[in-house]
């Protein structure tokens, strides 16, 4: 790369930063008062926390399609992973891993699962919800993998596949149950349905996020 194009790129970036800063400073207040609209309809959503209400009720489409996107990303990662020759993954890391790390991982994993369950429940009335819970579950799986206590996934199969798609199918099933329109929950059942969706999402998103890491691990160990 010559010096001149590099300089040009830097100048372009500076100009872009200046333009963006001016645009942000100049931005008018929004014409539609969304927080008021959310607050006015919160009673009908089935949950008490506004972010959860937006995520799973008012803008449920976003979340539904997001889960599909995550599943597709995982399929992509698994399919570009290097093919593994042996059927079962060798557990190479087990002997080399630090015993302190292994003990810590064994102690922390159940605590993380409990914390995930709490976050899932808390999502209805305070910050929390399926995504945060799933991130904790995935963190537990990654920790166990790094400690050499879990095998990598060359190819997920069987129960694991079922777990990966369960969240999307539960969500789709509930969405199709709606009154006339997709994702229009009956108001008196909304709270329970949202909790059901979130429970499915927690498991599936946790597995998907963990799978994004474990598919890499399989890739690395391939000969």
């Amino acid at each position: 790369m010559k010096a001149l194009p590099r300089l040009a790129i830097h100048l372009f970036l500076l100009a872009l930063a200046a333009a963006l800063i001016l645009a942000v400073l100049d931005l008018p207040q929004p014409a539609v008062d969304l927080p008021a609209a959310v607050a006015a309809n919160l009673g009908k959503s089935g949950v008490e926390h506004p972010v959860t209400a937006v995520l799973l009720n008012f803008r449920g489409y976003d979340t539904l399609l997001e889960v599909a996107v995550l599943l597709i990303a995982l399929l992509g990662v698994v399919s570009v992973a290097k093919p593994v020759h042996g059927e079962e993954e060798k557990d190479e890391g087990k002997d080399e891993a630090n015993p302190v790390l292994q003990t810590l991982a064994r102690l922390l994993a159940p605590v993380l699962v409990i914390a995930a369950g709490y976050l899932l429940w808390a999502g209805g009335h305070r910050p929390g919800g399926a995504f945060q819970a799933a991130a904790l579950l995935a963190g537990a799986v990654v920790l166990l993998r790094l400690a050499g206590l879990l095998p990598a996934w060359p190819r997920p199969r069987g129960v694991l596949r079922l777990g990966l798609v369960a969240g999307l199918f539960v969500f789709l099933g509930v969405a199709l149950l709606g009154q006339g329109a997709l994702l229009a929950y009956p108001p008196d059942l909304a709270g329970g349905l949202i909790l059901l969706i979130e429970a499915g999402l927690t498991i599936s998103l946790g597995l998907i996020l963990a799978g994004l890491f474990l598919a890499f691990a399989a890739n690395r160990e391939a000969p």
Binding site: M1, R6, I9, H10, L13, L16, A17, L20, I21, V24, L25, L27, Q29, L34, P35, V38, P50, V51, A53, V54, L55, F58, R59, D62, T63, E66, V69, L70, A73, L74, G76, V77, V80, A81, K82, G129, F131, L205, I208, L209, L212, F213, A215, F216, N219
Partner: protein, 90 residues
């Protein structure tokens, strides 16, 4: 200047830094990380602008929550592709 506006401006700075890392020549890993930083900047702009008038707007919060998870998945896919490419080059 409200704290929300400050966050939005910090988000703009992150976005431009990430864009720089992505378009300037460098290893694939640095570009992917740059892409990630760009995304974080965009999230910060969304959340910051939402609260510049005081009070919290739950709609951008939910959008950013969705976006963060999608960004993780996109980064993982990009890293997988980059590694596959590297193995091919060897």
């Amino acid at each position: 200047m409200t704290p929300g506006l400050l966050y939005a401006l910090a988000g703009v700075a992150l976005f431009v830094l990430g864009l720089g890392a992505m378009v300037l020549p460098g290893p694939a890993l640095r570009r992917i990380l740059g892409f990630n930083v760009m995304g974080s900047g965009a999230f910060l702009v969304l959340v910051g602008l939402a609260q510049r008038a005081g009070g919290v707007d739950p709609v951008p919060h939910a959008m950013v929550l969705t976006g963060i998870v999608v960004a993780v998945a996109a980064t993982a896919l990009a890293l997988a592709l980059a590694r596959r490419q590297e193995e091919k080059d060897d």
